[in-house]
């Protein structure tokens, strides 16, 4: 059931997740629907309980962010000290998993190169590419110019040859 309501207080853990946990905890036990619904709401209540207590502890410590330590103290003072060992273990596991994932992705993508260096290399490559392109363009321009010049010269000498030929004829006539 998706929570489409904008009201904060309607936020609950998804029913399916709770059902699964109940099934794993009490296999083969029939659980009434209203009992399941109650468990869902108890979860929310529990989270609020822990958050408020942890928040109070946090405020007293003059820190701004609720830390793991605050949560653990909250569990202790609210009578849930028996949870502490296991939640601490899980936290350790989560950190290890997250660390492995970060290392793995950085190994694949960066080959161990830090981001700053990658950026620098990228800028270098761009600059080089721009330079090469400029040089290429210049070369092409020069070639075009040369070709044009040659064409011009060829045309000029052709005309000159023609003129030379016809002026010779005229001279001969004058001599007679």
């Amino acid at each position: 059931m998706a929570s489409s309501s904008g009201n904060d207080d309607d936020l609950t853990i998804p029913r399916a997740a709770i059902n699964k946990m109940i099934k794993e905890t009490l296999p083969n036990v029939r659980v009434a629907n209203d009992a399941r619904e109650l468990v869902v709401n108890c979860c929310t209540e529990f989270i609020h309980l822990i958050s408020s207590e942890a928040n109070d502890i946090c405020n007293k410590s003059e820190k701004k962010t609720i830390s793991p330590e605050h949560v653990i103290n909250a569990l202790e003072s609210l009578g849930f000290a028996s949870y502490i060992t296991e939640v601490k273990d899980v936290l350790q596991e989560c950190k290890t998993v997250a660390l492995k994932r970060r290392k793995a992705s950085s190994r694949l993508e960066n080959l161990g190169i830090p981001e700053e260096e990658l950026l620098r290399q990228q800028q270098e490559l761009f600059a080089k590419a721009r330079q090469q392109q400029a040089e290429l363009a210049q070369q092409e321009w020069l070639q075009m110019q040369q070709a044009a010049q040659q064409a011009q010269m060829a045309a000029a000498s052709a005309t000159a040859a023609q003129q030379a030929g016809s002026s010779q004829d005229e001279d001969e006539e004058d001599d007679i």
């Binding site: 998706a2 904060d8 207080d9 936020l11 609950t12 853990i13 998804p14 399916a16 997740a17 709770i18 699964k20 946990m21 109940i22 794993e24 905890t25 009490l26 083969n28 036990v29 029939r30 659980v31 009434a32 209203d34 009992a35 109650l38 468990v39 709401n41 108890c42 979860c43 929310t44 209540e45 529990f46 989270i47 609020h48 822990i50 958050s51 408020s52 942890a54 928040n55 405020n59 701004k64 962010t65 609720i66 830390s67 793991p68 605050h70 949560v71 653990i72 569990l75 609210l78 009578g79 849930f80 949870y83 296991e86 939640v87 899980v90 936290l91 596991e93 989560c94 950190k95 998993v97």
Partner: protein
């Protein structure tokens, strides 16, 4: 929409959860932030709270079942949970969200009492 920061649910089929945490962490964060005055929560603190909530569900379900009337019939009912909330200190905070289920007889009794009191005024 179920959002989970963990790997998919395909992992824990029969052998039980291989993932450290099964509940959706993002949802837990939302619920925490809807608490008055709660500003920012460290990510690790969030992990701890999520796992604690999981343990709470297991704890509540087990306690209610073991102390409840449904053990013979292998059922867990609403009243099993309600009774556990009333009787166990650690679960007492839940009585806030439990509407008190009044027995019909108790209701009639208190109704009678009210009528008697009103009668005495005349």
């Amino acid at each position: 929409m179920k959002m989970s920061h963990n790997s998919s649910a395909k992992d824990d089929q029969a052998s039980g959860s291989k993932k450290p945490i099964s509940l959706p962490i993002s949802r837990v964060r939302l619920i925490m932030k809807s608490s008055p005055d709660v500003s920012s929560i460290n990510q690790d603190a969030l992990f701890l709270t999520t796992k604690a909530t999981e343990l709470f569900v297991q704890h509540l379900a087990l306690s209610s079942f073991n102390n409840g009337s449904g053990k013979e019939t292998n059922t867990l009912s609403y009243s099993d949970l309600a009774n556990t909330a009333q009787e166990a200190d650690t679960f007492h905070f839940l009585t806030d969200i439990l509407p008190k289920k009044i027995l019909a007889q108790d209701y009639l009794n208190s109704l009678e009492q009210m009528q008697e009191e009103e009668g005495a005024d005349y």
